[in-house]
């Protein structure tokens, strides 16, 4: 039995308000109204069958210039894995220095997707986080 669903397309900044006729059994979108382009079809089908999001948060750091380092999932993960992943990351603590792109957690919440550091985080024993300071020595 097909169902009517209302969605807002997030593929581009336009934010089309979609009126979708969806068949839950086959997972197929049968009709769409209100869309500005055909990308709405792929979005609606994915959003109604297995919605995914990128997750960004922070984890604790020992000995860094800041107490936290921002992290992100290397790829989109299922929406249902967001809170399990956040709970898992709450227990993670890394040692500074951290490099941008470094793997912080392998296969977060069993998704097979790694969690990566979003920036370099130097240790506190580096006097300044930036390398070049005026005046140069001497």
């Amino acid at each position: 039995m097909a169902e009517r669903r209302r969605l807002i397309c997030i593929t581009c900044p336009m934010g089309c308000q979609l009126d979708v006729l969806f068949d839950p059994e086959s997972g197929r979108v049968l009709e769409i109204e209100g869309h500005g382009c055909k990308r709405a079809w792929a979005y609606a089908e994915k959003e109604l069958t297995h919605p995914t999001r990128m997750v960004t948060t922070t984890v604790r750091v020992r000995g860094g210039v800041w107490p936290l380092v921002p992290v992100h999932t290397a790829e989109l993960i299922p929406k249902s894995a967001i809170f399990p992943l956040l709970r898992e990351l709450r227990r993670v603590e890394v040692q500074a220095p951290v490099r941008c792109g470094q793997v912080i957690l392998v296969s977060g919440a069993g998704t097979g997707v790694d969690v990566l550091a979003s920036r370099d985080l130097p240790t506190t024993d580096v006097e300044e986080p930036a390398p070049a300071i005026y005046p140069p020595a001497g």
Binding site: M54, P70, R119, P129, P131, A132
Partner: protein, 422 residues
């Protein structure tokens, strides 16, 4: 000390300017930054959505900043951190920091890249007591994402700008309750995709045409009172609701930060709150350039980087005396439903060197097909069809080289938006 180009502010505009200046063979490029690290607001914008235009990748804010910092230092850009600029004049900067005391810096050219700041409670005149627990959204973002401090447990957010909505999700991730997001306008001021990903995904209620009419609490916020507003934004009596909470976040707009510009005698545009610039981002004071949110508040950091690049390159050309000063500048006039245009003035000769990009904002939304019209001396230079216009989404337009002679002969160039008939 001396440098060819001094950049004030090490955020995305400043970093892009410094890189571009160094790439144009400026001998010494110095970034002067008030904070303890470079990157401006980006290190605290830990969400993704950055860099789609510049890098063709969906990056987080810190990663986007990291790429620019890495490039800057690879090129030999120097940075003075924890340093406050006190005064500028053409070719001269006075700054201070704990290590050097007072610094006098001579610069061949200066780029203003101070960014913007958030509109605070005082600018809104919200009645009520003065308890702890009222923060701007950006301050809360810094506390949560950089310093690791939660500013409260139960939040109400005033304003549906992107920072406000992104903070609603962020606070939810950290275990807080976001009771409500209130927006005084009848439409969301941030992007619809942020509404979906940040509010809808987590069932955070949003009320349009609503505002805060009272803040309650003695030492700490205990509740805010919301009310519906009429089309003139006046609260409607009888619609008040008491929302218990311990923290109120304000996400109600950004203001370009131009104390230094004003003091240097740079002409400011009332509509943008930033310096009047030409197509090479030079201000009204020769040798002083400006780019990024100090000029006007952008939607996307990618556009800020592009503007910074242009300003940095122009500043290097000025410092190395490779730049011809324009004989005259043509003013761009914001016509029907246009709030402002950047650049505000154009050297017609610039169009001989290449097409020129104009960026603008409309006054009111039109959710129907429109025509953007550029005219000079009664003649239409360009017409562009758009499917809609919204104040929250900057409109970009490219003025092609073929318009050179018409622009050269004009007193001013007007841009307007009209609904497409039929």
């Amino acid at each position: 000390m001396r440098c060819d180009v001094a950049v004030i502010g090490g955020g995305p505009a400043g970093l892009a300017a410094a890189i571009a200046a160094q790439e144009r063979d400026a001998r010494r490029v110095l970034v002067i930054e008030r904070a303890e690290e470079l990157g401006g607001i980006l290190p605290q914008c830990i969400h993704n959505g950055f860099g789609v235009e510049v890098f063709g990748e969906d990056l987080t804010g810190p990663t986007y900043a990291q790429r620019y910092m890495d490039r800057a230092f690879e090129l030999g850009v120097e940075a003075l951190l924890d340093t406050m600029v006190l005064e500028i004049s053409p070719g001269r900067i006075t700054a201070t920091n704990a290590r050097h005391g007072i610094l006098e810096i001579e610069a061949g050219a200066i780029v203003l890249a101070m960014g913007c700041r958030e509109r605070p409670r005082g600018a809104l005149a919200i009645p009520g007591t003065r308890p702890a627990g009222v923060y701007t959204a950006g301050t809360a973002q810094r506390l949560v994402n950089i310093e690791g401090v939660m500013p409260g447990e139960r939040f109400v957010i005033l304003g549906s700008g992107d920072i406000g909505m992104i903070m609603a999700r962020r606070l939810t991730f950290e275990g807080a309750a976001v009771e409500r997001v209130l927006e005084i306008q009848p439409f969301i001021s941030g992007l619809m995709r942020n509404y979906v990903q940040c509010l809808q995904d987590f069932d955070i209620p949003l009320q349009r045409s609503h505002t805060v009419v009272d803040i309650r609490g003695d030492r700490r916020v205990e509740a805010v009172v919301s009310a519906e507003v009429d089309p003139d934004w006046h609260p409607i009596p009888g619609t008040e609701e008491v929302i218990p909470c311990d923290t109120l976040l304000l996400s109600v707009g950004l203001i370009p930060e131009n104390e230094l510009s004003r003091q240097a005698g740079v002409e400011l545009d009332e509509a943008t709150g930033g310096p009047v610039v030409d197509e090479r981002f030079q201000t009204s004071v020769p040798g002083i350039f400006a780019a990024g949110n100090v000029v006007h508040v952008y939607d996307l950091v990618d556009d800020v980087s592009h503007a910074g690049e242009r300003a940095g390159a122009s500043a290097a050309e000025f410092a190395l005396e490779r730049r011809e000063e324009p004989a005259r500048k043509v003013r761009l006039r914001a016509g029907e439903n246009i709030r402002y245009i950047v650049p505000q003035v154009l050297d017609p000769e610039g169009l001989r060197r290449g097409e020129q990009r104009l960026q603008m904002r409309v006054r009111r939304p039109i959710e129907a097909p429109v025509v953007l019209r550029v005219e000079a001396g009664g003649e239409t230079l360009l017409r562009r069809r758009l499917r809609y216009v919204r104040p929250g989404e900057m409109v970009s337009l490219t003025l092609p080289e073929r318009t050179y002679s018409q622009v050269r002969d004009a007193d001013e160039v007007g841009v307007s938006v009209e609904e497409r008939g039929g």
